[in-house]
């Protein structure tokens, strides 16, 4: 504001314009920095309070620094089991959804067929339906067919909501991909299966990997759909939900911090891996040509 009024009084010269541009440039940067700080504020609180030594049952006010939560991260009854259930469901749903979704993505991008519109709609709809509707409609299916809810129904639900995200992620990778490479392989005598194995699969592997990681992350974080279809089974988010009503042990923050560190580490490895591949490809191409 003040910079703008000062600038308005100055004669129209180049230095003034540079100052204005500088201010505008940095205003946006400052805004972006503030937005990032806002994004990280709760995470900082989660990490900080994992070192808290709470006096009562709740971990909401700072009482003093301690390492005992980190020394004994699973020292809360029921939490370790809940984490294991979450990991099992995430791994299984990630494998199934990635397989099913990748096949759909391949069909959508590489083949012409009737009914494409219907398929696209069926992929799109679950992503635009509120989770509470997805969760409650599945529950009505299980209730009406007398299917007991538990581990199996959670897994069914997670595979269902993950398929669409896998399709979208793998498709994004397939669209930018050069069909000529496959044609070249076929011209050189490779059959369809060999071409798929040797050319298509390595090219789309990073897309499949990204989709798998996304599915894993979505599954491990899901609360609403799981809550409706869990029966007596307790996943980690359900455990946190139960704790939020009775007592919030600081170990929850320890696990939150660990998940954060592992996920961010995994993503950094993924970025580095992709950059290396890109560099290797850039180096290999001129040599072959």
């Amino acid at each position: 504001m003040t910079a703008a009024t000062v600038a308005a009084r100055l004669p129209h010269e180049h230095p003034m314009r540079r100052v204005l541009a500088f201010v505008r440039h940095n205003l946006l940067t400052a805004y972006a920095a503030l937005a990032l700080a806002y994004l990280f504020l709760p995470i900082a609180v989660v990490i900080l309070f994992s070192f808290n030594n709470p006096a009562g049952r709740f971990n909401f006010t700072w009482e003093g620094f301690t390492l005992k939560n980190w020394a004994d991260p699973f020292g809360v009854p029921g939490m370790q089991g809940a984490i294991l259930v979450s990991l099992e469901i995430a791994a299984l749903s990630c494998i199934f959804a990635t397989a099913l979704g990748t096949l759909i993505a391949l069909a959508l991008v590489r083949y012409q067929f009737r009914g494409r519109g219907v398929v696209n709609t069926l992929i799109f709809l679950p992503m635009t339906t509120p989770e509470i509707v997805l969760g409650s409609s599945l529950l009505t299916l299980f209730l009406n067919r007398n299917i007991a809810t538990g581990f199996g129904t959670i897994l069914i639900a997670h595979i269902m909501f993950n398929i669409s995200y896998v399709v979208v992620t793998v498709k994004a990778r397939l669209v930018g991909f050069d069909r000529h490479l496959e044609e070249a392989a076929m011209d050189l005598g490779a059959n369809e299966w060999t071409t798929f194995q040797k050319v298509t699969l390595p090219l789309i592997a990073p897309g499949i990997l990204a989709a798998g990681l996304l599915a894993f992350a979505l599954s491990i974080d899901d609360f609403v759909i799981t809550y409706f279809n869990a029966g007596a089974t307790v996943t980690f988010p359900l455990f946190v939900w139960g704790a939020a009503r009775v007592a919030v042990p600081p170990q929850i923050n320890v696990i939150g911090t660990l998940i954060f560190v592992i996920a961010v580490g995994g993503m950094i490895v993924n970025i580095v891996f992709q950059n290396r591949r890109a560099k290797a490809a850039a180096r290999a191409l001129p040599a072959e040509a």
């Binding site: 806002y38 099913l100 509470i132 409650s136 529950l139 009406n144 269902m160 911090t257």
Partner: protein, 286 residues
């Protein structure tokens, strides 16, 4: 199978589609039928529920819970607008000023959301709590009177919703802004457009698909949310999601809970259609 596939190549895509689509048909489409069916049943948990075209479930649901419905749409709407105001400059900055660190900044934007949703919301409970530093600071500058609270207000619930769905806003905005051809901006500059004018006439219209996708992806989960209202609010901030989950899982009044779910879906669909019409571009959806 290989020989069959070779002879009938037109069948290949259907073989690829079949398992995944079957899963979606059985566990997404069929449940919608059962949800509709349940919403027209009558009975009780003890004697069982039977289908009886009970349309009164819908009229009862709307007359009893219209406050929560309106509140859900209101909170979701406000949160979506705030999320857009926070995210657009951030996405713009990453897309145009991020340089070769774009991916890193994008990672920074997504990273906080790897901490479990419920733990993030509990962290907001800590931040907004009565003795917390935000409340103390606001007391100090007299924005909040001495016994005023932050937690357990609609402000807290809206703040939580805004934060929790932010990546759904930032990512589509970033994708559409990243695709803006900078040569178009150069052209606008060459034709003596000021920076603000070229933003309004070039960048903003080109980013509208991202705005459309981002606001929808934020509004839809926000309108169905019940976690923020439960953890950061009180029953007088409860949204329709709170009613649906307690009807299904605590009170076990399945027909009315199903009717409420259906009305929520219909309300969101209607809001989306009105919005698409207002924005006036059907190509945006594709």
């Amino acid at each position: 199978v290989g020989a069959l596939l070779h002879r009938r190549r037109w069948l290949t895509p259907y073989f690829l589609l079949a398992p995944g689509l079957a899963w979606l048909a059985v566990f997404f489409v069929v449940p919608m039928y059962y949800l509709a069916n349940t919403s027209l049943q009558t009975g009780s948990l003890e004697v069982g529920y039977t289908f009886s075209w009970a349309w009164h479930n819908y009229t009862d649901a709307i007359t009893t819970y219209h406050t929560q419905f309106v509140r859900s749409l209101e909170y979701a709407g406000i949160a979506t607008v705030i999320a857009l105001l926070v995210s657009y400059p951030l996405a713009y900055w990453i897309a145009f000023r991020g340089g070769r660190w774009k991916n890193l900044f994008l990672l920074l934007v997504i990273a906080p959301f790897f901490v479990t949703y419920l733990i993030r919301t509990l962290a907001w409970e800590t931040i907004l709590s009565d003795g917390g530093f935000v409340a103390s600071a606001l007391h100090h500058i007299h924005v909040l009177d001495s016994n005023g609270r932050l937690l357990a207000t609609s402000t807290a619930v809206i703040a939580g919703i805004t934060y929790n769905f932010l990546p759904f806003m930032v990512l589509p905005l970033y994708v559409s802004l990243e695709q803006v051809d900078e040569r178009l901006l150069d052209a606008a500059h060459d034709l003596y457009a000021s920076r603000i004018w070229s933003f309004l006439r070039v960048t903003l219209p080109l980013s509208l698909p991202g705005v459309f996708a981002g606001t929808l992806l934020t509004f839809i989960p926000a309108a169905g949310d019940f976690i923020n209202a439960q953890l950061l609010g009180t029953p007088s901030q409860y949204m329709i999601g709170n009613v649906i989950q307690s009807k299904f899982l605590a009170i076990t009044d399945y027909p009315q809970a199903a009717a409420l779910s259906f009305v929520l879906m219909a309300a969101i669909l209607a809001a989306v259609l009105v919005y698409a019409r207002l924005l006036g571009t059907e190509r945006l959806t594709g």
